[in-house]
């Protein structure tokens, strides 16, 4: 099943808390893992990496400390200068400055055995783990996060393993600041993945949703707008999908032409919220009366920070 949620405010707000409420409202759609992709209000100079130390420490006879040191060495060799490091068990956050090729940097970090990057960007931070939305908040304190927008996901595993790496959101590996959350199955996943791999792109997991992130990010990096990329995805992706994509500019959705996966949208004067089910929106808005609508199958739409003030509704 899986549940997705997205939010974009006109003024900076507690996006972490809004997504926490929405995901809590649809935890029944996915009890396995929960994740958030949050964007800071303004992309700064600094680059932030969210890293997962997936190594089997006992087997590899290394300590967290040693693993952390190797990461620091590789980053420094790539010209990344570390400003701060935070670590809680296997999850790390590293902030620093870097002016080189982020794809090269991310591939170098992931070449370290047992090290995975969850997110990399000037504005994006992905927090994800096994467990519920409440557990995720308790671990990362994400309710306090302030920004304009973000997306989130609760996962019921179908195609791949349950572990923090295969939890959503998926960062578009190699492309800074792009993330997706997906509900459905991409049936031409292997073909799409192979084509992208032939062109030199890497993947971290065996999860079909990951391909959507790299597929869209590659289009957008080549100059296609998010709007056009989503439009193209409606025919180029096969299978069932309701997904959300996010960049520092905003969020967008695409819904498969057979309408197999749900999505409900609510737009008010302050915020646009998208979720798999209305119960998520009701949970976020509380007592406030809201109007909701279900986008039609085979449609896509985007909301960007710059145009939101003048945008009209999606249908």
């Amino acid at each position: 099943m899986c549940g997705i949620a997205g939010v974009i405010y006109k003024q900076p707000n507690r996006t972490g808390e809004a997504l926490h409420k929405m995901l809590g409202g649809c935890q029944h759609r996915g009890p396995d893992s929960t994740g958030l992709a949050l964007y800071g209000p303004d992309p700064g100079e600094a680059l932030v990496l969210r890293i997962f130390l997936a190594a089997d420490l006992a087997r590899d006879e290394v300590s967290w400390q040693q693993r952390e040191e190797v990461v620091a060495q590789v980053l420094s060799a790539q010209g990344f200068s570390v400003e701060s490091t935070w670590r809680d068990a296997a999850q790390m956050r590293i902030r620093g400055t870097f002016s080189g090729d982020v794809q090269k940097l991310s591939y170098a970090v992931e070449d370290i055995p047992g090290v995975e990057i969850f997110s990399l960007g000037h504005s994006l931070e992905i927090l994800k783990d096994e467990g519920t939305a409440d557990e995720l908040e308790a671990r990362f304190g994400s309710d306090a996060f302030v920004g304009y927008h973000g997306i989130g996901h609760v996962r019921l595993a179908t195609e791949s393993d349950v572990n923090p790496s295969t939890a959503h959101p998926f960062w578009a590996y190699g492309f800074d600041d792009v993330a997706i959350v997906h509900n459905g199955q991409i049936t031409n996943y292997f073909k799409l993945k192979r084509r992208l791999e032939q062109r030199g792109f890497r993947f971290r997991t065996e999860n079909d949703s990951e391909v959507i992130a790299v597929y869209l990010a590659e289009k957008m990096a080549a100059g296609t707008s998010m709007e056009e990329a989503l439009e193209q995805s409606l025919t180029e992706l096969d299978g069932t999908f309701s997904f959300l994509v996010s960049t520092p500019e905003g969020i967008g959705f695409a819904k498969d032409p057979i309408g197999a996966k749900p999505m409900v949208v609510c737009e008010t004067d302050e915020v646009v919220a998208v979720a798999s089910e209305e119960v998520s929106l009701r949970n976020m808005f509380g007592a406030q009366e809201i109007d909701t609508f279900e986008p039609f199958p085979g449609t896509s739409y985007t909301w960007s920070r710059s145009t939101l003030a003048t945008a009209t509704s999606a249908t």
Binding site: H28, I258, G259, P262, V264, E277, E278, V279, L281, R282, N283, T292, F293, E294, F296, P297, G298
Partner: protein, 251 residues
């Protein structure tokens, strides 16, 4: 009239209590539905239930007899397998509204999501707004009335029953055809709409099954025997001058 509050309560408990209350009271108001799933499922008495807000998936599913009035929206599968009764939604309904409905009347004041009236077997569904993709797909009977517009693949593979559309039709599905309104069609629509205090619109269009796709050119053996038996029975009855047989021809 009695009230029941669903806030922070297990839905199974709420439904259990609803069924008990329905035995003793004529009118029940359900507070704080919070768009949660499976509310008011399995009501089998002629109770009148008002849901103060939006309900989630499968609201008023497997019901036989009640009058349910939802003041907000409903999620997927509203009125699933309705056997009898009257269900009304003030807002929009999600996908597969009235899936497998046997009888009774459903009114949606807003729009219908995808695949409304899927495998519907009887009764009526009326939408004041538009219907999403594949409305009336695989319908086997009953009447779907869309007063707004219908999206792609209307009536995809419907086998029987009728769809009436007041607005525009984006496209018809496989094996669905537009038919002339016959004598009695408008009266039937008027009667169904009158149950909700509504009037038929101008330029109503009727969609029925072309009855080509899901029919076999050859009879299957059992079917043939059944057909022969019915014909023999009909002939015998006609000989008796008393045609008291079942009419299998829906027209």
């Amino acid at each position: 009239m009695v009230e029941i509050d669903a806030r922070d309560r297990d839905i199974r408990d709420v439904n259990r209590q609803l069924r008990q209350m329905a035995e003793e009271h004529d009118q029940i108001v359900l507070l704080n539905p919070g768009a949660r799933h499976n509310l008011a499922v399995g009501l089998t008495s002629r109770v009148e239930l008002t849901v103060r807000g939006s309900a989630g998936y499968f609201c008023a599913g497997l019901c036989d007899g009640p009058t349910v009035y939802v003041e907000g929206n409903v999620g997927w599968g509203f009125g699933d397998n309705l056997m009898s009764g009257r269900l009304t939604v003030d807002g929009h309904a999600g996908a597969v509204c009235g899936v497998g409905q046997r009888a009774g009347d459903i009114l949606v004041r807003g729009n219908l999501g995808s695949r409304a009236a899927q495998v519907m077997k009887g009764g009526s569904i009326v939408a004041l707004g538009n219907a999403g993709y594949r409305a009336g797909s695989m319908m086997m009977g009953g009447t779907l009335i869309i007063l707004g517009d219908a999206r792609e693949a209307l009536g995809e593979f419907l086998m029987d029953g009728e769809i009436y559309v007041g607005g525009s039709i984006h496209s018809l599905g496989e094996d669905a055809v537009e038919a002339e309104l016959r004598d009695g069609d408008l009266d039937k629509v008027r009667e169904l709409l009158a149950r909700h205090g509504l009037e038929p619109p101008q330029n109503l269009r009727k969609i029925i099954s072309d009855q080509r796709a899901l029919r076999y050119a050859e009879y299957e053996s059992g079917e043939l025997l059944f057909e022969q038996a019915s014909e023999e029975k009909a002939a015998a009855a006609a000989a008796d001058g008393n045609r008291d047989t079942m009419n299998f021809d829906s027209d």
